[in-house]
């Protein structure tokens, strides 16, 4: 590595070229988000029992991932940025899961 002076990191196989995301992509993401907002509202009015919160949160997670990948450009970033984002969410999940140990370790649904 050190034999080349490569400040832009272009010789690195993990280098991500800067990409400009087109308005068409943004438009499709926008439509997806609006459609899934409609779906989650519709699902709230249907009695799915215990699965109402599951469906609502699954749709919210899907929408958040779409926003992160496209609106926030993470899909097009270098591995450094991808790893940073993933590390943040992973740490957050660890914090929540460990704090809820009392609930995870007992009979589910009998809280």
């Amino acid at each position: 590595m050190s034999e080349f002076h490569d400040p832009s990191n272009v010789l690195n196989p993990e280098h991500a070229d800067h990409q400009i995301i087109t308005p068409l992509t943004y438009g499709m993401v926008f439509a997806t988000l609006l459609i899934f907002t409609g779906v989650t509202v519709g699902a709230a009015y249907i009695d799915l029992g215990i699965f109402n919160p599951v469906v609502a949160l699954a749709i919210a997670c899907f929408k958040a991932v779409v926003v992160i990948l496209f609106f926030m450009h993470v899909k097009y970033q270098s591995n450094l940025i991808k790893l940073t984002v993933a590390a943040g969410f992973f740490t957050f999940i660890v914090l929540i899961t460990m704090t809820m140990s009392d609930y995870i370790s007992r009979a589910w649904g009998l809280w």
């Binding site: 800067h18 215990i50 704090t99």
Partner: protein, 258 residues
């Protein structure tokens, strides 16, 4: 003496470097970065580190919600049903639209279209303000119904819910007085979470005014887009917080599973 010569002809060196590498050295390009790409990635990295602290911050609020919802499930169900799904859904759509225009603003800055950039930033601001307007209507309704936690909070309609004239049954499950008091926990978390979200939006709208003014001067339409791009990250992050607030506060308690 060398310094004096440089000071009287400050651009000599920069011009020579620019000619040698055949690309423009922007005034925003800091000397401690070797290339514009390096500067850009450093800025994106730093912005994401800030957003990670924001994830932890909002995470604390979401965690409090998760725990108290388990503890006072019945109180959370009836107080959640006091919120208006149409208003919440409209606000979700408005916020997504605002985020869409923010994404387009980043594109306009990348392709160096100054006029479009200003238009998209203004549209982002307009939809952001519309969101806060609807939020204010909702807050006002809470004030009128005495749903703001504190000495004026009224639990009577949770203990004795209004009777539906058609069915002759209560519109909500009546709560025991001690559980009815816990509806205050829901509304406290409702105001804490949506309030902190709205505070982030107010800060963002302030920044948008500033960025729009700078964009109008052409600062971001000559190849330097980092402030627009990184503000976009912040704005989309605030969107994501709402994408979770909406189902948790408004939706998931309509049909309590158990």
């Amino acid at each position: 003496m060398d310094n004096a010569i440089v000071a009287t002809r400050p651009h000599t060196h920069e011009t020579a470097v620019a000619a040698e590498h055949e690309h423009v050295v922007l005034p925003q390009h800091r000397h401690h970065f070797e290339t514009k790409e390096q500067q850009r990635e450093a800025a994106t990295f730093g912005m994401w580190l800030f957003l990670l602290t924001e994830i932890m911050f909002f995470g604390g609020l979401f965690f409090a919600y998760l725990l108290y919802r388990n503890w006072y499930h019945d109180a959370f169900v009836v107080s959640s049903n006091q919120l208006s799904i149409p208003l919440g859904a409209a606000n979700t759509a408005i916020l997504i639209t605002s985020g869409f225009f923010m994404a387009l603003a980043v594109w306009a800055a990348e392709v160096q279209k100054k006029r479009l950039l200003v238009i998209f930033l203004v549209l982002t601001t307009v939809f952001g303000v519309a969101f806060l307007g609807i939020k204010a209507v909702e807050y006002h309704e809470k004030w009128e119904k005495h749903h703001i936690p504190g000495s004026h909070f009224d639990v009577s309609e949770f203990i004795n819910p209004p009777i539906n004239p058609k069915t002759g049954k209560p519109t909500e499950t009546p709560l025991a007085p001690d559980m009815a008091q816990k509806t205050q926990v829901f509304f406290f978390l409702y105001f804490a979470m949506t309030g902190m979200h709205a505070f982030h939006m107010i800060l963002g709208i302030g920044l948008l005014f500033w960025l729009t003014w700078r964009a109008n001067r052409g600062e971001f339409s000559a190849g330097y887009v980092a402030p627009i791009e990184n503000f976009g990250l912040y704005w989309h992050f605030v969107d994501i917080v709402w994408l979770f607030l909406f189902p948790l506060l408004y939706l998931i308690n309509r049909h309590p599973g158990y």
